[in-house]
Symmetry: C2
Subunit: 356 residues, 2 copies
Amino acid sequence: MISHKKLEHFTKEVFTSLGIPNHVATVAAENLVRADLRGIDSHGVARLSGFVRLIKAGRINVNAKPNITYETASTATFDGDAGLGLYVANEAMKIAIQKAETCGSGWVAVKNSSHFGIAASHAEMAIGYDMIGMAMTNASPLVAPAGASEGYLGTNPICIAVPAGKYKPFLLDMATSAAANGKLEIAQRKNAPIPSGWAQTKEGDLTTYAHALKDGGSLLPLGSDIDHGYHKGYGLGAMVDILTGVLSGANFGAWVPPFVNFLDVKQSVGEGIGHFVGAWKVDAFQPASEFKARMDTWIEGVKGLKRNEGIEEVLIPGEPEYRFEEKRLKEGVPLNDKVVIDLENLAEELGLKFVA
Amino acid sequence: MISHKKLEHFTKEVFTSLGIPNHVATVAAENLVRADLRGIDSHGVARLSGFVRLIKAGRINVNAKPNITYETASTATFDGDAGLGLYVANEAMKIAIQKAETCGSGWVAVKNSSHFGIAASHAEMAIGYDMIGMAMTNASPLVAPAGASEGYLGTNPICIAVPAGKYKPFLLDMATSAAANGKLEIAQRKNAPIPSGWAQTKEGDLTTYAHALKDGGSLLPLGSDIDHGYHKGYGLGAMVDILTGVLSGANFGAWVPPFVNFLDVKQSVGEGIGHFVGAWKVDAFQPASEFKARMDTWIEGVKGLKRNEGIEEVLIPGEPEYRFEEKRLKEGVPLNDKVVIDLENLAEELGLKFVA
């Protein structure tokens, strides 16, 4: 167990030691460690060495000066200047919130960015302003459209954060694939089979082999097969790619650059990867206090439903993650042995100290 | 086969004969018949008698005067005045488009409305303005949240319409349940079993019995089970319910009134059913001509993918429906025998003529 503050501090040191300015490193470290706090271990400090590789390979600009390239009262296109997505998306969300404050809603399409961590850490910024926040990103093409046998879409998450009254916010943060890549990684570490419906081989056959992606296979969209509506998961992943990539001027589809620096960047149709963030101000639609009381009623309605056998509780989106957060804020973050070694190696490489 | 113009004409006559003003009946008829044109037979004139029952039961206000109750530069709350959703959502979309024209995006939450037909007929209004359109609605609680054994959400569709260049628009219109109710109805008519993963009994057991809903069962969210991510389908359906119902002031969750007039309306938490429509102006983010060329590249990327065995073509969302439309515009709409009898009975009841 390690305290999240210690993890944030180390992460920040790693970034500043590579030339990232202090204020950028602070935000980036907080957003990265939020994944560990929320129990999304695959997206937290486990990815820190990946960021370091990209920075060292010159694929992330440490002196990025993100800037608005197009703007209207309620929208903007934001050029991340090849900076850290963890920071760029945060800045974009600030713009969206400002616009929502003045004209009811704000939407920012981001190009020329990089991996932004978990979508929730950006969308939830809206909550404190009594706004509904949204965040999406595209990512490397691991997911095959319905009927295709090769990847074209990322796991392209959709996140929406909604304030409630006496309850925690509603916070949906979901990959549009049948399974997020993190779940596959868990199976890979254990050498365990994966459920049928998550992935296919490069020939397009269903597989339960967790390493199928390394052999040229691809992930399946939410729905998994035609009978269960995988054209819908494909459609949602495509929607995310269009808003984050096509609309912003970033790369999209097969052209989205990979997160890992040893994979070649394919021919480009835009700049970097893309995000799309936004906010609706609740007061623009009805008094926020009324809305939050209505959300409480909505939540209580779900909690009062009859449950399937063996189910102790029907959960609200975000509830499992808030429970992780509460626990880990108190008890610290449990790190996987491999991640500890990874961070120790990073510390040595950069002349820093890391004690788990 | 019957020409869509004839169907529109008859539908309009039905509405006007019940006291709906001419301009409202025109829009409503066009939107209803668009479902038949697009091959979504369950949502077209097959539902006309349902509308008539609701109007006769006083649950739809024929003299509705929809009006804005809250407004900012980029948002509005719209009170449908208990009017025909087919018309109310259309008016709401016009407001969204106007707002997007002046400040980049426009969002309208609609309360006190009724069934709006297919979401696509509203979202696609944005296309002609070089905008990206969205439309959602809530509906009677047939879908169980993940882990629950009773319905709380409607099939709550998400629709997004995106203009392209030389190709047809990208037009995703999907229920957030594993299967749309229309697909269930087809199996019911044939007395055929449904795939496991679409529905559960009132005890919460998976079932392949197409009539399970009538026996108190419920539909399952997209993803169908925990291994295949049905918490995501649940989360998306919930997002739609929050934006359309909680945010607008309409009913939500278990309180959404049923489309059929013989079912009792439960205690109310708002007014009527709710929609949420919106538009982003493409030019607010990048020149529309560039965007449309990029959409063409996106589409060509999908079309060039390797395909699974037995798959002739990877489809773009909306493509199957455009093919139906092209064919039915030329050849007419094939009507099910039961629907023909239904329309003939309606004609007799209202003193009109209907010849299939």
